[in-house]
Amino acid sequence: MSEIWAGMAEAFLLIWSRDADLIEITLRSLQVSLSALVIASAVALPLGTWLAIRRFRHRRFVIATLNALMGLPPVVVGLIVYLLLSRSGPFGVLGLLFTPAAMIIAQVIIITPLIASITHQAMRELWSDYHDLLISLNTTHGQRIATLILDGRRTLMTAALAGFGRAIGEVGAIMIVGGNIDHVTRVLTTAISLETGKGDFALALGLGFVLIALSLMVNLAIHSLSRTEREGRW
């Protein structure tokens, strides 16, 4: 119990003293996770919506696969991305291994199925409400997807936040592809892992509390920007 109090005190001290290292790794955590979120959302939101409105052969198999991919083990993703980006791998020439870009790639792979699957569930309900109207108005598939994404944006925000939550708290994959290099690829989660390994539980806990606060702040900021609660139910 005393270690938790010590951790909270450490977190307070780190924030109060505007510790340069803390600011750097916090900003890097945000940069990596938000970049991954934007890229994954750009793919997953239209994909999930498309799956909700299109009927095609093997659709159930595709959806089942997508749902299964939600549980992708991050360590395995990290290992595969490592092999792809390593010097002997097919993308080795790009020189991305042990850079924030590699961490973003790994996080995109991890959170895209999660966002797409939640999007699919949400859009399926909205599509059943809108189906007759949008068919009647002779809309194209692109117009249907755009309409559903626009009108379902509040639910999709939840999907995106779930993706962000998974990305910001992820450690296994980014440790492998980022290497936890100080001032280059160290982020909050890998720093926590390092400090725990060194036995500095207070600092690890302190960083943990900063991570939780950061996650809460991003969630509140996105809710506030999208006015999720103010406008009530539509």
Binding site: D129, D132, R233, W234
Partner: protein
């Protein structure tokens, strides 16, 4: 393609659900403008018939041919569903939506939206979420959203079901204006009074078949089929 005096031709149209025929076989020529009212007892297939005409219901066999190419015909049509479907947007955005799909200029969209919001008495609620309007207001908004495209043909599925007298009168006034402006209206209703007030022609459906069709006056004064006679007498039709 069918000849110009006809606007649609149905040949051998059958709709089956879970192996059971819910409509047809129907062979029918539809012609003329004004009001065509589709009457019939519950389960007669009125809604399915309307949906088939509009192309939102898949037919099991047969064909529906319009006097113009299918795509042009569909673009000139609008449909108001029995339970109004509201986009999760404001009244203004609901009215603007079909016009945005047509790619009209913003100034024209804004002008038409203002006109129709005033016509249905929702000018003061332009920025109010449409799904939170009352049932009558939602039905009027759905009608305005259909008419804002200036359709040639308007399909209405029980547009005044569950509405009070005042809302029904307002909707009927709007529909009369639309037919005077040249729109063709095909409407289902349970309300015989409304059918007598509005119909130029009547199509009577029973058990998925067209039992009778013709001028409204003839139908109401001298129905030919036993089903239509029973229906007008208020009998239970099985």
């Amino acid at each position: 393609m069918v000849s110009q005096d006809l606007f649609a031709q149905l040949r051998g149209v059958v709709v089956r659900r879970r192996g059971k025929a819910v409509l047809g076989p129907i062979d029918l020529d539809l012609s003329g403008g004004g009001f065509t009212v589709v009457l019939g007892p519950n389960g007669a297939g009125k809604t399915t018939f309307l949906r088939v005409l509009h192309g939102v219901e898949r037919i099991t066999s047969g064909s529906v041919t319009w006097s113009e190419p299918a795509k042009t015909a569909q673009q000139g049509q609008a449909y108001v569903f029995q339970s109004p479907i509201m986009l999760r947007r404001s009244v203004r955005a609901n009215l603007a939506y079909p016009l945005q799909l047509l790619g009209l200029p913003k100034t024209e969209i804004a002008a038409r939206v203002v006109h129709w919001a005033a016509r249905i008495g929702l000018s003061a609620a332009m920025d109010f979420p449409a799904p939170r309007l009352s049932g009558g207001e939602q039905q009027k908004l759905a009608l305005a959203r259909a008419l804002i495209r200036l359709p040639d043909t308007l399909f209405l599925d029980e547009p005044c079901a569950n509405l009070d007298g005042r809302s029904t009168r307002e909707i009927e006034e709007i529909l009369r204006e639309a037919t005077q402006a040249g729109a063709r209206i095909i409407m289902t209703t349970h309300d015989l009074g409304q059918a007598r007030r509005l119909a130029d022609r009547v199509l009577f459906l029973n058990n998925g078949q067209v039992e009778e069709q013709g001028a409204a006056d003839n139908f109401f004064t001298a129905p030919k089929s036993p089903g239509a006679t029973g229906f007008l007498n208020g009998d239970i039709i099985e």
